[in-house]
Structure formats: structure tokens, C-alpha cells
């Protein structure tokens, strides 16, 4: 447990991504199985200890610490695991088992033994180990390590390709002994069950002005980039699995999508809500996302369907190395045979020049349905990741609004001495209401101007946050606006970035929130 707790402590306090990768890669190199596998599972959120609820831990703490003193401390510290680790009053001799053994003990604890064992563990642990132990039980480390970063470290320590690790990731299980055997060249690449496993998706690069000069239009086709969420659908004999772009299984949220297929198939498409295959806006789709329980009312109001883009597997045949053209042929053939209410084909848009496509985009785009166009190479295969030269996204023109700078926070790593994370707002009567945050879009010189303004015009500090004089206007570019009841202003911007500094513009000329809503919502 010492090694594990020191690892996550170091990761928490390190802000550089590269350094985190180094720390993790060293750990994987110098730790044996199954400890490193369990650590990997914890870091990637694949491990849950359901048998010990956090309320039980609190109960144990209250048996040993005055409740009022604990509450005051928790208010101050703000993190439960940390509060418990610091306040725990007992110290006993002994040392904690290693991470895999601890997990094994915790998983198999009998109900009656829980309190005694946890109390003993808390007492023999040092403060960092206690913190790690409570985090392990409560789940969710929140130490700024994504699952992608952990896998990047795996690739680094083993010299294997990240893509290959991603390919099998969703088919392997804790504590990943077969994975580590392969990574250490002591075994074959693990075989995975296709019907259960998410396959990493092929993603597009944004198209640039220069690309239009170099790319030959006749080698490409286009499709609408539908404004939903990208999904992978795996249909088995009687099963349906829907995965989000990041590999999360979201099948449960969309029970109406049933299997009408007679064959095993893996499809790529866009999940949308709407009737007769006409999509409603993204905001409506959001009503269906992140819900564990789906009610009939929700399904009636916002019925889900999928626009199909691609086919990856058919009857155990991997089609990913075939060209887009032949995959499309297979997709259309499959679609004809398996027509149902949940699947629609995404149309192929043909064009003879980039100008023609540009005009098409301008005239036919529907703001609520399309995010822009996808441009795909006709003879390109399906390559996981974001390979250059195959798929491009041509987003609709960004929208712009001038807003007033309100708050700033310092950045991380290279930017740690700069205020580089900005909150901005619009007028709501004579008060400003924040509408979003942005931490990129500006160049180095603009950052210096912003940083200087923040330092010289701070009116209040809340911990790391500085509130500034409401005088600096910045032009914000964004892709779309959604209604949001999570934000006080009632709006949430998609992909906001700082486009320009408007030092010339007085804050009083920034528009009212109500005007913004009527213009963009």
C-alpha cells in the first residue's frame, strides 16, 4: 500500500502531463503482478469495491473522533478521504499489505469484520496510506490522471503501440496479467471477445484552408456531421451494445434500440433523438444522456435512433482494412436486409469540386441538426485514432459574442505563473452573469496582456480565483449554445475559446444575456 499511496500522492501533486507519464511508466516497470494490474484498474476507474459503502467508513470514524470536530475539519479540508487521513487519532505498529492483497481482503470481508479490520488498517497506515485507502474504498481518485494517460504510460514503459493497447483494452479484465505478460514480451497479445468489446474509433481532423489546395476533391465523399453523439453499436445474436466514443457502455440508457439483425455486426454511427429519422436539437438529446433509469415518457418524448456511418465487422469478418467504398457497399447491403425503426443510413454527398461542396454546405446546413460536414477518403481504410489524410471535419462557422472578463485562475505547468483560465459574462440588467470559461484561443502575446490585466485589476480573491474589474472585453468564438439549468445564466456554450481581445470596446457596450439568448438559442 505504501508504494501505491506514494504513487497517487506524487501524481496528485504533479501537473505536467509528461512527468505524470514518466512517474507511471516507472511504476509499471518496477512493480510486479498483480499489484500493477490493480493499480491500473484503479487509475482507469475499472475497480469497484461495492461491499463497503463510504457511510460505513464514516461510522467507523465517528466511533473514534468527536462528530462536531470531524464536521468542522471536513468543512475546512473539503475532501473526505483527506479529512479522515489527517484526523485519525490512533497509531498502531504494523504495516499494510500491498495493494492487491488489500483489495482481496476488502472484497472478501464478512459484514461483522468490516469495522474491526478497517479500524486496524487505518491505525497502522501512515497519513498518505490512509488517504489512499479511503480513496480506494470510496472510488474516484480525482488525482488528474485520465484512463488515456494511464494507457499512454503503459505504451511508454513497454514500447508497444498505444493503438494496440486501445484495441484490446475493452476486452481484458482486472488485474490484466495477460496484458502485462504481453507488454513485457512474455506472452502473446491478448485475444478478446468481439461481441463484448468496444473498438477504438476512427476520428477526423479539422480541415484547414491549405487542405483545400492540396486535397483532390474527386478522391473524397462527404456526409453530414450530425449533431448527436458518436456511437459504436455491436449487435450479436440477441444482444445490443452501444458504446460512446470513449468506450463507455451506454446501452442501458437506450433500451428502445433493439436487435433486428440476424448477423453479428459492428456499426459506427451517430446517436440522435427525433421522429421519422429527423433529428431534434442536441439539447433534446441531452435529456436522454446520463440517465440510469429511462422512463417511457422520456422514450416517447425523445425517441432515439442512429444514423449509420460505417461498418467494422460483419459475421466475424474484420472489414476495417477494406476501403471506405467497399465498407459502404457492405453497410448498404446489410441495411437493406435489416431495415428497422432504429437505424437510418447517413446520406453520401457527392460533389465535383470543393467550391461546389462549400456552396452545398452554405445552402443546405440546418443549424439544429448538423455540426458541419465530414469529408472521407473513398479508398481509405478504417484506422483507429486520428490518422492524417483520411477523414476531415468541416465545422460550420463559429459564432461570436463579445463578453466581459470576470474571473481568472492560474494555469498549470508552463502556464503556472500566468492567469490563463478565464470566466466571462454578459449583462443581466446591470449585473454581469457568467456564461462560460475559456483557456485557449489566444496567442502568447495576448496571454501576457490578459495576465497583466488580471494582476493589475484584481478586486477580490477567492482562494485561487481572482475577480477582476469588469472593464475588459474579449471576443468569444463558440460552436453552439445549449440551454442549461446547471448554469445560473441558463446557457452553456460549446467549445468556447478566446478569439480576440477587444481593448477598444467599453464593457457597457456588451449585450444583455436576454438578447444573446434570443439571438442564439
Amino acid at each position: 500500500m505504501k508504494k501505491f499511496s506514494e504513487l497517487i500522492n506524487k501524481l496528485l501533486l504533479t501537473s505536467s502531463r509528461n512527468r505524470k507519464i514518466d512517474i507511471l511508466s516507472n511504476y509499471f516497470q518496477n512493480t510486479s503482478d498483480p499489484d500493477r494490474g490493480y493499480t491500473l484498474a484503479i487509475l482507469t476507474n475499472e475497480l469497484e469495491l461495492r461491499n463497503i459503502p463510504i457511510s460505513r467508513i464514516k461510522e467507523i470514524v465517528f466511533e473514534n473522533v468527536d462528530k462536531e470536530l470531524f464536521t468542522l475539519s471536513y468543512d475546512y479540508v473539503g475532501d473526505l478521504a483527506e479529512t479522515i487521513s489527517l484526523i485519525w487519532p490512533h497509531k498502531e505498529l504494523g504495516s499494510l499489505l500491498c495493494i492487491s492483497e488489500i483489495i482481496d481482503v476488502l472484497r472478501n470481508l464478512k459484514r461483522d469484520d468490516v469495522n474491526k479490520t478497517i479500524k486496524y488498517y487505518l491505525s497502522i497506515a501512515n497519513e498518505t496510506e490512509r488517504w489512499a485507502l479511503v480513496k480506494l474504498i470510496s472510488g474516484g481518485l480525482r488525482i488528474g490522471v485520465s484512463s488515456r494517460l494511464a494507457k499512454t504510460a503503459l505504451a511508454k514503459f513497454s514500447n508497444k503501440k498505444l493503438d494496440d493497447i486501445e484495441k484490446i483494452w475493452h476486452g481484458i479484465e482486472t488485474p490484466y496479467n495477460n496484458l502485462f505478460n504481453w507488454l513485457c514480451n512474455q506472452g502473446p497479445m491478448p485475444k478478446i471477445d468481439l461481441l463484448k468489446t468496444f473498438n477504438p474509433m476512427m476520428l477526423a481532423n479539422p480541415i484547414s484552408k491549405n487542405d483545400f489546395k492540396t486535397l483532390i476533391s474527386s478522391e473524397f465523399i462527404a456526409e453530414w456531421k450530425w449533431d448527436g453523439i458518436r456511437v459504436q453499436i455491436i449487435l450479436g445474436k440477441s444482444s445490443v451494445k452501444i458504446f460512446s466514443r470513449t468506450g463507455d457502455d451506454i446501452s442501458q440508457s437506450f433500451p428502445e434500440i433493439k436487435n433486428g439483425s440476424d448477423s453479428m455486426v459492428i456499426l459506427d454511427g451517430e446517436l440522435l433523438v427525433g421522429r421519422d429519422f429527423i433529428p431534434m436539437n442536441f439539447n433534446s438529446l441531452q435529456q436522454r444522456l446520463n440517465r440510469k433509469k429511462v422512463t417511457q415518457k422520456h422514450m416517447d418524448e425523445f425517441p432515439a435512433f442512429i444514423k449509420l456511418y460505417d461498418i467494422l465487422y460483419l459475421n466475424n469478418e474484420d472489414l476495417r482494412d477494406k476501403t471506405w467504398k467497399s465498407r459502404r457497399f457492405e453497410l448498404e447491403k446489410w441495411f437493406k436486409k435489416n431495415n428497422n425503426n432504429y437505424f437510418d443510413l447517413s446520406n453520401v454527398i457527392k460533389f465535383s469540386s470543393w467550391d461546389e461542396l462549400s456552396n452545398f454546405k452554405k445552402n443546405k446546413i440546418i443549424d439544429d441538426q448538423h455540426e458541419g460536414l465530414m469529408i472521407k477518403k473513398i479508398d481509405g481504410s478504417y484506422i483507429p485514432g486520428r490518422p492524417k489524410g483520411y477523414w476531415y471535419k468541416w465545422k460550420k462557422d463559429p459564432k461570436n459574442v463579445d463578453a466581459v472578463l470576470m474571473y481568472a485562475i492560474r494555469g498549470h505547468g508552463k502556464r503556472s505563473s500566468y492567469y490563463s483560465d478565464f470566466t466571462f459574462g454578459l449583462w443581466n440588467g446591470n449585473q454581469l452573469s457568467p456564461i462560460g470559461k475559456a483557456y485557449f484561443g489566444f496567442d502568447d502575446n495576448e496571454l501576457k496582456v490578459l495576465d497583466k490585466f488580471v494582476r493589475n485589476n484584481t478586486i477580490k480573491k477567492f482562494g485561487p480565483v481572482r475577480e477582476v474589474e469588469k472593464t475588459f472585453v474579449i471576443e468569444i468564438a463558440f460552436d453552439a449554445v445549449n440551454e442549461s439549468n446547471r448554469h445560473k445564466s441558463g446557457v452553456a456554450l460549446r467549445f468556447p475559446r478566446i478569439k480576440r481581445l477587444r481593448e477598444d470596446k467599453p464593457a457597457s457596450e456588451v449585450i444583455q444575456l436576454s438578447q444573446f439568448k434570443s439571438e442564439f438559442l
Partner: protein, 329 residues
């Protein structure tokens, strides 16, 4: 506490302890800015505290200075005043006052653990204790400071290609960290931010071993890889720190026991070194004094007051304003 009010005003002799605003007569417990303010008419303090005030605010920061050495009594009218070492920083004292047989002790800021940069804390019995509570929560249990210093030395060994920027308050913490490094056998040159210079010099003049210390000169090109550089936290957050290439940001403070706090301040290597009493020291000392009444001047008062209640001691929070500037703890 009939003869002393909530602003720590000793009524029979019209004297304030650590007043926040300029007053006629002030007793100053130590030189930190939230306790020692310029502009009083008469100041009573230890010679070290007076010297520190003069370094920081100028020779004329008060009209008259009167020195009272520790463990000597001074009687003004019917009030007896005696200073006891507080172990916080050089010159810091507790102020014991006695009037008509009632003893009230003001701790000022204190710690009970040993520190080579100042006199060791001396406990005193009293009827009423007026205490600080900067770290007055049971989550604050400071570790051994030598173990913390070893962490810094270990990191210097491990990352000898990176400068180690250590955030310290200019008075007290800076000198203590340097002294602790010397105690661990670190005999290399230690670099300091300009704002630490005068106070380090003053400590050295008081025979406190700081070894070779050099002011950072950023106009000259120098390689600070593997060196220890001490600077106030504000300078580390500021443009000043941009001149160092890829530094490891460290901070020496009692707050560093809270990881989220360290993370929030972008501190990579937290060093839990505090010049204040932790929870155990605070509560142990309250018990030792046999005080019937405990007044808490500043810090996390609620928890100490609650603890007093649990231990059948009268506790009350004074919530003095202007205290608790976290940078200097």
C-alpha cells in the same frame, strides 16, 4: 476578564497587545506583520522584536521603544507584566499579565517544539489563557520538521537538474528552513530572494547559523539547477519565478499537510513545517495552564471552543480582525 477587553486592551494601564491600528501604548508579541504594526506611540517588546520592527518599518516606526527581556517583570501601576519565550520566531513572547491576583497569559503565536532560531517555548500557569488557534483543528498534526527537510534534500538528489524554489515567509520561516538544512548537513550555498536578505542578516548577527547565503541575481546568467532558492510565496506565484527553468515548486508551511491545498497552490513538493502549535500542542497547553477561561484570538476558533466545552473549560472566540495572513504561517 473584566480589566481586559475583547480588543486585548489592558484597561488599568491603557495598553493594547498586538493592536491592529496605531495606539498610545502597545505590547508587541513578535515581529510578524499581523501582530506588529507601525505607528504606535509607545512600544514595549523584546529587543529582537523591536529590531525586527525597525528593519521592516524604519527606525521611526514608533515614537518610543522600551525593551523588556524575557523572564523579567515590569510593573506599571498595579499591573505586572512578564514575557515568556513563545518559540514562534526570534524575539517572540507570550505576555503574562497580573492584576489584583488574577493572571492572564496571552500566547501570541507560539509553538512548543524546539527551534534553534529562537528561544524555546516556556509554559506558564494562568487563570485565563488568551490563545491563538491558527491550526486549531484536529486534522493538523504536524510531523517532525527534520523528516520534512529530508524530503527536500532527497528531491535535490533525485532531481539535480531542476532548481528547487521553496516558498517561505520572509521572517522566521526562511531562517528556520535554512537552519534546518544546515542541521541536516547541507553545506552548499543557499540562494534567497532579495526580500529575505535583511532579515537573514539580522538572524546571523544574532548568532544563528545560516551558512553561506546569496541573493539571487537574475540579471546575471546563472544555472540554478539542483540549487535551493528561498522566496516568499508571492514571488513564486509571480513573474519573478519565470526566470528559473523548470523549477520544482516547494512550500514550507503548516498548511501543506492538506494535499488539496498544496495542489491548488501548484506546489509540487509540500513541506509541512509550521511555526505554530498544532492541535495536540494547543490542547495540551490549554490543559497544562490550568486556565478556567480560554479566549481564542484567531484561527480555527470553533473547534478549540468546542474542545474546551468537552473538557469543561469556558471557551470563547474573540475573532480578532486583521490576523491570519496565510502567507506567513
Amino acid at each position: 476578564m473584566k480589566w481586559i477587553d475583547k480588543n486585548l486592551h489592558i484597561k488599568p494601564i491603557n495598553t493594547h497587545i498586538d493592536p491592529y491600528k496605531p495606539v498610545e501604548n502597545a505590547i508587541i508579541t513578535h515581529g510578524h506583520a499581523d501582530h506588529a504594526k507601525p505607528g504606535h506611540k509607545n512600544v514595549l517588546a523584546t529587543s529582537e522584536t523591536i529590531e525586527i520592527m525597525k528593519i521592516r518599518y524604519g527606525e521611526n516606526c514608533a515614537e518610543n521603544f522600551q525593551v523588556l527581556p524575557t523572564n523579567q517583570s515590569l510593573k506599571i501601576n498595579d499591573v505586572l507584566i512578564k514575557f515568556f519565550p513563545a518559540g514562534h520566531i526570534l524575539g517572540s513572547v507570550q505576555v503574562l499579565t497580573e492584576y489584583k491576583g488574577e493572571k492572564i497569559n496571552f500566547t501570541g503565536d507560539y509553538k512548543t517544539t524546539s527551534d534553534q532560531t529562537c528561544k524555546d517555548f516556556e509554559p506558564v500557569k494562568c487563570h485565563t489563557l488568551v490563545t491563538e488557534a491558527t491550526f486549531g483543528l484536529p486534522v493538523f498534526q504536524h510531523p517532525n520538521e527534520n523528516e520534512e527537510i529530508k524530503k527536500l534534500l532527497k528531491s535535490i538528489n533525485l532531481f539535480s537538474e531542476r532548481p528547487h524554489l521553496v516558498g517561505v515567509y520572509a521572517l522566521g520561516k526562511a531562517q528556520r528552513v535554512i537552519n534546518l538544512l544546515r542541521q541536516q548537513g547541507y553545506d552548499k550555498e543557499i540562494f534567497i530572494h532579495g526580500s529575505l536578505e535583511k532579515l537573514c542578516e539580522y538572524y546571523q548577527n544574532n548568532n544563528i547559523d545560516l551558512g553561506k547565503i546569496t541573493k539571487v541575481n537574475l540579471t546575471k546568467k546563472k544555472d540554478y539547477n539542483g540549487e535551493i532558492i528561498l522566496a516568499p510565496p508571492s514571488a513564486i506565484k509571480n513573474i519573478w519565478s519565470r526566470k528559473f527553468e523548470d523549477p520544482i515548486i516547494c512550500q514550507a508551511s503548516g498548511w501543506m499537510s492538506i494535499k488539496q491545498r498544496a495542489k491548488q497552490s501548484l506546489v509540487e513538493l509540500p513541506l509541512i513545517i509550521s511555526d505554530h502549535a498544532d492541535w495536540n500542542e494547543l490542547t495540551k497547553y490549554i490543559k497544562f495552564t490550568d486556565a478556567e477561561n480560554v479566549y481564542v484570538t484567531h484561527g480555527r476558533e470553533e473547534a478549540i471552543v468546542h474542545w474546551c466545552k468537552m473538557n469543561k473549560i469556558n471557551g470563547l472566540a474573540l475573532s480578532l480582525s486583521g490576523r491570519d495572513d496565510e502567507e506567513q504561517l
